[in-house]
């Protein structure tokens, strides 16, 4: 099984008529994702390579029975796009766009949680999710992931997510679902949400978790692992040697006031029983060991 999305998930691409949306929307369709519609109020009635464009998410959902959307809308319009998807009753809203203001994220996270509790937001500023062999919603290169299981992946960083998928593929290890939660201050889906879903998924037998400096999401995940996870976890934290006060690319990746350091995160995760690698390759090797022992 996979978490959050599978081969039956019908997806609307908000921003399918833009260059990024079109490029990745078509790549995702090629992979096997059910890309059933796009939205653009000015281009309703047209199509992108056979994918119909509707004026609104509600109309697209009505016409296609879609339950998910993938957002490639420019940052200034993301808040409205997320609310439109939630109001239309979608269950999963994947926000690829980077550069969304933190206050917008804080607003739509809380608004959706309160008024549309059935909607899950993933991102913003994330690579999306891939259930290898079934569906790929976002910008991950599909062919670097081996379908099947037994590993689930959750990561805060894009390229390190790809690196993790690739390391496992090289070791002939399959993945149930790989979720990129994104590097922004208010991610719609947290490490814990993913760990909980992987723990409940019978096909996922072990979880690989990739974090980075900043915030306390990894420490909270460690607490969850300690108290709620029966499945083994291997992981890696980027930014061990990052100087305090310097933002390392991601809006969330900053060590401030001695908090959010890699050392603290690694210590918390190790105390929770996770095996932590010093680099992505070592984390992949640790996961290979875990998988070998599962058999």
């Amino acid at each position: 099984m996979s978490i959050f999305a599978d081969e039956n998930t019908k997806v609307i691409y908000q921003g399918l008529t833009g260059s990024q949306g079109r490029y990745y929307g078509l790549l995702n369709r090629e992979y096997g994702t059910q890309v059933v519609a796009g939205t653009n109020p000015k281009k309703a009635g047209t199509d992108v390579e056979g994918i119909p464009i509707y004026a609104t998410v509600a109309e697209a959902k009505e016409a296609t029975g879609a339950t998910a959307s993938c957002i490639f809308i420019p940052a200034p319009f993301v808040k409205a796009a997320v609310m439109e998807a939630a109001e239309a009753g979608l269950e999963l809203v994947v926000v690829i766009t980077e550069g969304v203001p933190a206050h917008d994220e804080a607003y739509f996270f809380n608004k959706v949680k309160q008024d549309f509790p059935g909607t899950r937001i993933l991102g913003p500023n994330c690579p999306g999710l891939i259930s290898p062999g079934k569906t790929n919603i976002g910008i991950t290169a599909g062919h670097i992931a081996k379908p099947g299981g037994p590993v689930g992946i959750v990561s805060r960083s894009g390229t390190l997510t790809y690196q993790a998928l690739y390391e496992l593929q090289q070791k002939d290890i399959g993945v149930t679902t790989c979720v990129g939660i994104g590097g922004d201050p208010v991610p719609g889906t947290s490490f814990i949400d993913c760990l909980e879903a992987f723990e409940a998924d019978p096909e996922t037998k072990a979880v690989m978790m990739i974090g980075e400096i900043g915030g306390s999401a990894e420490e909270e995940a460690a607490e969850f692992i300690k108290n709620n996870m029966t499945k083994p976890v291997a992981g890696y934290i980027a930014g061990v040697t990052a100087p305090p006060g310097k933002k390392m690319g991601h809006a969330g990746a900053i060590v401030s006031g001695g908090k959010g350091t890699a050392a603290a995160k690694i210590e918390a995760l190790e105390a929770a029983g996770a095996l932590m690698g010093e680099n992505p390759t070592e984390a992949g090797e640790l996961m290979a060991k875990i998988v070998a022992e599962l058999a």
């Binding site: 790549l27 940052a75 200034p76 550069g99 969304v100 203001p101 933190a102 206050h103 804080a106 607003y107 996270f109 809380n110 608004k111 309160q114 910008i139 991950t140 290169a141 062919h143 670097i144 990561s155 805060r156 960083s157 894009g158 390229t159 390190l160 997510t161 790809y162 690196q163 690739y166 590097g183 201050p185 208010v186 990739i210 980075e212 400096i213 915030g215 306390s216 999401a217 909270e220 890696y236 980027a238 930014g239 061990v240 040697t241 990052a242 100087p243 310097k246 933002k247 390392m248 690319g249 991601h250 809006a251 969330g252 990746a253 006031g257 890699a262 010093e278 680099n279 992505p280 390759t281």
Partner: protein, 379 residues
């Protein structure tokens, strides 16, 4: 984006928060004119992006024009922790009865806004948090609802400020929350927030950090972006639109993606080297971006070797390889380059690079071996 004190005070003033009458200047003569206008005594304050100004002699009280002139000329040009003072702020000195602390920031863990208020101001809030955590009254604010006046009143009461300060504090905190939200701030902090003997409440300092992602809502923030502290290397990278952070070592680092770039910096350290920088060239790796990145790194005199660490995702290995070769043709590079190329079509990419390899362009199979090689070459 961190604002200088005077920018923060002007930002506060634009939301109606009372700040001291003053102005910023780069000249001694003008400093005296400002002092004459706002009335003595005045405080002359260095405007730099670092703390510890007072200890470094960057904050001085002047009773008259002669003193104002003396302090202004001493402080302008002063070196405070490597920051040369180019600008000073001159304001009318305030009488202080009590000093408080107030701030709004985003609590990423709670995913709500966090307000902190303390009767123990004027010192570092981290110190108060460590030594006397009960002295800080905290509230969480739902971004959907915002801060209500009743909530604000209860909060002020919980902080045990002098009762004379209640009305003034509620007024300032409501305005500060508006500034924080409408201004898309990551942090709005007043330390100290003062109660004057005459009963008014007043922001004596301003620490403001704004969300650079919100520039589209506030085109005037471009001006703040221009005054961010950046060294020469960071300035050059910023102009090219590169995600660059200057570090102090000798191994130049280029990687695609923030996570991988951070990881590369880590690995260079782990094998006993010291990275000269963090540089994320983003998802793709075309010749132009690569050439820009190599130019910035090559201009750093501390760099002795360059480590290019690329993971091909959607961008295929052969495109990355061609981009690197094209870039090295465009830019004359003084240091040896070590490439690690992995991911999609890495094999094809490596084949393309093979005939171009030399003493100045090396290739390694793994991130670790490439890091070791680059570190050796930097010695």
């Amino acid at each position: 984006m961190d604002l200088l004190e005077f920018q923060g005070k002007q930002f506060f003033a634009s939301y109606g928060i009372p700040v001291s009458d003053g102005d910023a200047t780069t000249s001694v003569d003008e400093a005296v004119e400002i002092a004459d206008r706002v009335g003595y005594p005045v405080v002359v304050k260095a405007q730099v992006h670092t703390g510890g100004r007072g200890k470094a002699g960057g904050v001085k009280l002047a009773e008259n024009a002669d003193e104002a002139r003396e302090h202004a000329s001493n402080i302008l040009g002063l070196d405070i922790k490597g920051h040369i003072v180019e600008q000073i702020w001159v304001e009318h000195a305030s009488d202080i009865a009590e000093e408080y602390y107030a701030s709004f920031t985003l609590d990423r863990s709670a995913k709500q806004h966090l307000g902190m208020l303390s009767a123990e101001g004027g010192v570092e809030i981290e110190t108060v948090a460590d030594e006397n955590p009960d002295a800080i009254a905290k509230i969480h604010i739902d971004p959907v609802v915002g801060l209500t006046e009743q909530q604000c009143r209860d909060w002020v009461e919980a902080a045990n400020l002098n009762p004379n300060a209640t009305e003034g504090a509620v007024d300032i905190l409501m305005k500060l929350y508006t500034a924080y939200v409408e201004g898309n701030a990551d942090l709005c902090e007043i330390n100290p927030l003062i109660l004057k003997p005459t009963g008014e409440v007043h922001a004596l300092d301003a620490k403001v950090s704004l969300d650079a992602n919100a520039i589209f809502k506030h085109p005037d923030y471009e001006a703040y972006d221009a005054t961010q502290p950046r060294d020469e290397r960071e300035k050059a990278a910023h102009e090219k639109g590169l995600q660059y952070v200057g570090l102090t070592g000798s191994v130049g680092v280029i990687a695609n993606g923030a996570g991988l770039a951070m990881s590369t910096v880590d690995v260079v350290n782990q094998v006993g080297g010291a990275p000269a920088n963090f540089l994320d060239i983003g998802g793709g790796a075309n010749a132009e971006v690569m050439a820009n990145a190599l130019t910035v790194i090559n201009n750093d005199p501390a760099v002795k070797s360059i480590f290019i660490n690329i993971f091909g995702g959607i961008t295929r290995g052969e495109e990355v390889a061609n981009g690197i070769i094209e870039a090295t043709k465009r830019v004359e590079i003084d240091s040896p380059i070590v490439i690690r190329l992995d991911g999609t079509n890495a094999e094809q990419g490596r084949e393309i690079l093979q005939p171009h390899l030399s003493e100045g362009l090396l290739m390694e199979d793994t991130m670790l071996s490439a890091a070791r090689r680059a570190v050796e070459l930097a010695k």
